[in-house]
């Protein structure tokens, strides 16, 4: 889309208007004391060094290339982690307990067994004698 061409006179007036902001000044004496204030803050910073994490953040803000490098490495680690989690074989997952190898093992009292087989249905088990309920009249 072609931008609308501005009125050159208005543009010129705008520039002159903005140039007037150059005359906005801080309170009197501000710049006389400014170097002293900077010196005081430097001395204070040398006496009480900043924590490492803040220095690290400062370094990132001053050097965008370093920040980009960190971001790329972090992204690669995340993507790599997700990719490895998806491509790893399912047998590698956690198991609660080893499935019983013999039927007798399953009768151990208090044994907690995890199995991939679906739980047996109560009414679909042919060997289980289940009588339908009746209501007494």
């Amino acid at each position: 889309m072609e931008p609308v061409q501005p009125n050159p006179n208005e543009f010129e007036r705008l520039q002159r208007l903005l140039a007037l902001k150059r005359h906005e000044l801080p309170p009197p004496g501000f710049f006389e004391h400014f170097p002293e204030q900077v010196r005081a803050r430097i001395t204070q910073a040398e006496l009480v060094p900043e924590p490492w994490w803040r220095q690290w953040l400062e370094a990132l803000s001053v050097k965008p290339a370093l920040a980009t490098t960190y971001a790329v490495v972090a992204s690669l680690l995340v993507v790599g982690g997700v990719w490895m989690a998806k491509t790893s074989p399912p047998s590698g997952g956690p198991q609660l307990a080893v499935s019983p190898t013999s039927p007798g093992d399953s009768n151990l009292s208090g044994a907690l067994v995890a199995s991939n087989a679906p739980p047996p249905g109560l009414f679909n088990t042919p060997s289980l004698p289940v009588q339908p309920a009746e209501f007494k009249k």
Partner: protein, 208 residues
């Protein structure tokens, strides 16, 4: 170190002031007075860019001081690939942009009054011409104009406000702005174009 130190006269009334690089080398060697001279040299510009970005005197003062403190701490890493001027500007601009991202614009305790505008500005032909046509009360019009200008700048995106501040207010050339913002001059020109267009809409009452 001894060569450069010998080249700089100790007296304050030196015929030719030392250039930035000489002062930087002295400061890198631990000469605090050389760094103070660099602070004195650029304090107005650095304070100015931060103030026009934040429209807040206290924040501007704090951020400008912080920029110089960080410059002192990082001075060892300054290789001279760019000028000290570009380097310190970049530090100040980055800190200001980070500040603006984390903190919303807030009203300054110290609103610049008309007395803060220097006498030259109040009698500036452009100022007189602009405000005298708007209202009969010139002082009120000046204050209104100042507030309107700041409000208009705050409505711009940070990158657009920065390019307007550096070019239209501080008078930096496109090439210098491109170095500070780490982009090419075409980007600077484009941003400037759209920023002015937006300002033109906001300040239309003052431009007709």
């Amino acid at each position: 170190m001894s060569e450069s130190a010998a080249a700089i006269p100790a007296a304050s009334e030196a015929p030719a002031p030392p250039d930035d690089l000489t002062l930087v080398r002295q400061a890198q060697a631990g000469d605090a007075a050389a760094f103070d001279e660099l602070v004195r040299r650029y304090q107005r510009q650095i304070y100015g860019v931060v103030y026009h970005m934040t429209s807040h005197h206290e924040d501007a003062s704090d951020l400008a001081q912080e920029a110089f403190v960080k410059a002192w701490q990082a001075l060892k890493s300054f290789k001279g690939d760019s000028s000290f001027f570009t380097w310190i500007y970049r530090i100040a601009v980055n800190r200001t942009l980070n500040h603006l991202k984390t903190r919303k614009f807030r009203e300054s305790k110290h609103r610049f009054s008309l007395n803060d505008l220097d006498a030259e500005a109040e009698n500036h032909p452009d100022m007189v011409a602009m405000v005298s046509r708007q209202t009969p009360r010139r002082d009120a019009a000046l204050a209104e104009l100042q507030e309107k200008l700041n409000d208009a700048l705050v409505q711009l995106s940070e990158n657009h406000r920065l390019v307007v501040t550096l070019h239209d207010i501080q008078g930096l050339p496109h090439e210098a702005i491109a170095q500070v913002m780490k982009c090419n001059t075409a980007t600077v020109r484009t941003r400037l174009f759209y920023a002015r267009q937006q300002l033109q809409g906001i300040l239309s009452d003052y431009l007709k």
